[in-house]
Symmetry: C2
Subunit: 406 residues, 2 copies
């Protein structure tokens, strides 16, 4: 079994890094606080005697290999340590630190695996500062060129490549240098299912599709007091129409569609000026590709109709688009077997969130283990998972890694 | 008649001051660019041989008085030279520069008025950086204490009193030191009425009521991918509901209600996080106080219902509230007579915008002269009034000032 105190202590220690003056946890990808988190993690990798490798997009790898197995394709465990704004401490970090914990436990046990075992912390999984999300693992899987993502411009106008160089994490390894035999990721569920059903372990068999778009609506600035309602081209009002349309449609559908407008900005953003421009993001998800396409089409039709009705012009930029992924059934079955073996309830389930496993599934058999999230809350400082569940999840990871490394 | 070239030249010269790198005109109250505009204006006041006085809230006065009339209550002409963001060059500046032009014309003509004539540029008429709007004239009229407004915190976190001191316009005159005999303001209409009716001069007989509120909606941040629609408390969606409610209600009413949401901000403002907070402003106006109260009550009821339906908490802050104002009928008649005398069409009308005259009407007989705005566009760089209309308006001001100064 893993060293529960070491694991829990590290989760808390990393969770204390990157707090702002109000105590909010903000470790956006390639920021100064991300550097602090990375430095702490790399220190632990070295302490554990692992080989540390950093690639050109800042993905960090801790590799446990021996002269005997160095030629073999490694078993890779991974997740991320970047966070959203005002984050909880578990999202991503739990999986990375549990992976390290599993390797240290196996090393200490005298186990000599036939293939290397490695832990990865991928750059910019959250997609908050730079899009798309799951960026580092997408590059590793060959889904996008590293030059492209290094040129990505962030919400703050920064350029990813410059930021990685600045914080000292523009590595020299070629992205994708490590070809995994299989990929495993342990993560908090971030949703309400496991808690509601009283099941401690999720064996994640698929992951829903994700569509991110940035919509820009251009209207005409005019005086809030003198302009009759009938003479307005109000970009802000048109944006509000899109938000209520998406919400009502997703809520009324009898499928698990989710639709979110998480960011918005008005120009000129003055109290007595009708907005000339509204820019906002749309996050649409569905486990079924056909339905996700239908949701995108409905949004496009809404925008077209709105442009005419409101006298505005609308442009759309695609920020991320990932089809649903089905994970490797053999690994899903190994997770179920490990849970049963330890007397733990287990449930096959879908992931509502995007994960690095979704990208790695393109190049290796992959699956994920979930543990419950209290109240289904994530991307919120109230994100919480019970210690017992965190430790149980890490032990299931240990068992499956032991199986797969053989 | 006024010197048309001098007037038009100054309007353009002042309109070139305070441009940002994209060429946008931004002279927010008490900012660095406002300082540049003020310095230019004060230079012109001195050139004209006027006595310059600046009060504690930064209101600027140029006073034309003689030993003969120094004891009399002055006739005051006024408006403002602060602007919105990405403004046109006429809003406010036209009235201030025409007032100066009228005084210079009268001085040069050898006219010796029985009372002083003064021109005022009031601080922060726009209300974009600090609320309420018409701040300087409200203080002058005794509607709010100067200590209160000097403590006002701006949209950028600045404090008005500190900013006025920094730019050198924290004057030493007691606010209200100048008690006007009457008050006149010339302004572009900023709306579509005069142009549509082909009338060059508006005699403004009343001004609609203004209600400004800041609404804060608190929901629960959660993950955009994992949180079912039925489990959300989405502050951003709730804000969008308010925006569409206000718009639909105003548009459907058969009264001239106008409703505008000009500013918005989401927290944490991340693409995959359900907004925990939305903060936005509401600008509601109506010429009839009872109807304005009904609009405010409808908004309050909407918020109450929304709080329950969406599981959010809502708080409301009042930023400005001014009842409709009826201007002095004798001055309105003088304006009509002056227009007829010059063979110009004239129309009695309502002002849709707020103006300093609205505040000054509390302490002196007041009225306003309007000239047409092309396309009814204002608070927009495309704001435009034909030179002939600008000159005609200034000549009507000259005539009415000549009458009232007697
Ligand atoms: N697990 C997680 O929160 N990933 C971030 C990408 C997303 O799903 O929005
Ligand atoms: N005239 C003018 O634009 N005033 C600003 C205050 C308002 O919003 O009406």
């Amino acid at each position: 079994a893993v060293d529960a105190q070491r694991l829990l202590g590290r989760i808390r220690e990393l969770g204390a890094v990157g707090r702002d003056s109000e105590g909010r946890l903000i470790r956006l990808a390639a920021s100064d606080t991300d550097r602090l988190g990375r430095d702490l993690f790399v220190g632990w990798l070295r302490q554990a005697g692992l080989d540390v490798a950093i690639d050109r997009v800042g993905n960090i790898f801790g590799i446990w290999q021996s002269p005997d197995n160095a030629g073999q394709a490694p078993l890779l465990i991974g997740s991320h340590i970047d966070t959203v704004i005002d984050a909880g401490i578990y999202d991503g970090c739990y999986g990375v630190l549990a992976g390290l914990e599993v390797i240290e436990t196996l090393k200490a046990s005298g186990f000599s695996p036939p293939r290397p075992v490695a832990i990865a912390a991928f750059t910019n999984e959250e997609g908050v500062r730079y899009t798309p999300d799951m960026m580092g693992s997408l590059v590793h899987a060959g889904g996008i060129g590293f030059e492209t993502v290094l040129a990505a411009v962030g919400t703050d106008g920064s350029v990813l490549g410059q930021e990685l160089a600045r914080i000292g994490y523009a590595g020299d390894k070629e992205p994708g240098f490590l070809k995994p035999h299989a990929y495993l990721e342990l993560h908090i569920e971030q949703g309400p299912v496991l808690e509601r059903e009283g099941v401690p372990i999720g064996a994640v068999e698929n992951l829903q599709g994700i569509s991110w778009q940035r919509i820009t609506i251009d209207g005409v600035a005019n005086h809030a007091g003198t302009t009759p309602m009938s003479m307005r081209s109000d970009a802000g009002h048109a944006a509000a129409r899109v938000i209520t349309f998406l919400h009502d449609r997703a809520k009324a559908s009898n499928t698990p569609t989710v639709a979110t407008v998480g960011t918005i900005r008005f120009e000129p953003n003055a109290i007595n000026v009708i907005p000339s421009q509204a820019v906002f993001t749309v996050d649409l998800r569905h486990p079924d590709e056909q339905r996700l396409q239908a949701e995108e089409a409905a949004l496009a039709a809404c925008l077209e109709q709105l442009a005419v009705a409101e006298g505005v012009t609308i442009s759309v930029e695609r920020l991320a688009r990932f089809e649903p992924v089905i994970f490797d059934i053999r690994i899903v079955e190994l997770i179920e077997a490990a849970a049963k073996n330890r007397g733990l309830g287990v449930k096959r389930m879908t992931s509502g969130a995007g994960h690095d496993a979704q990208m790695m599934a393109r190049i290796a058999p992959a699956a994920m283990i979930f543990v419950p999230s209290a109240g289904g809350i994530s991307h919120n400082p109230r994100e919480h998972t019970e210690d017992a569940d965190l430790v149980a999840g890490a032990n299931i990871l240990l068992d499956v890694v032991t199986d797969l490394a053989k």
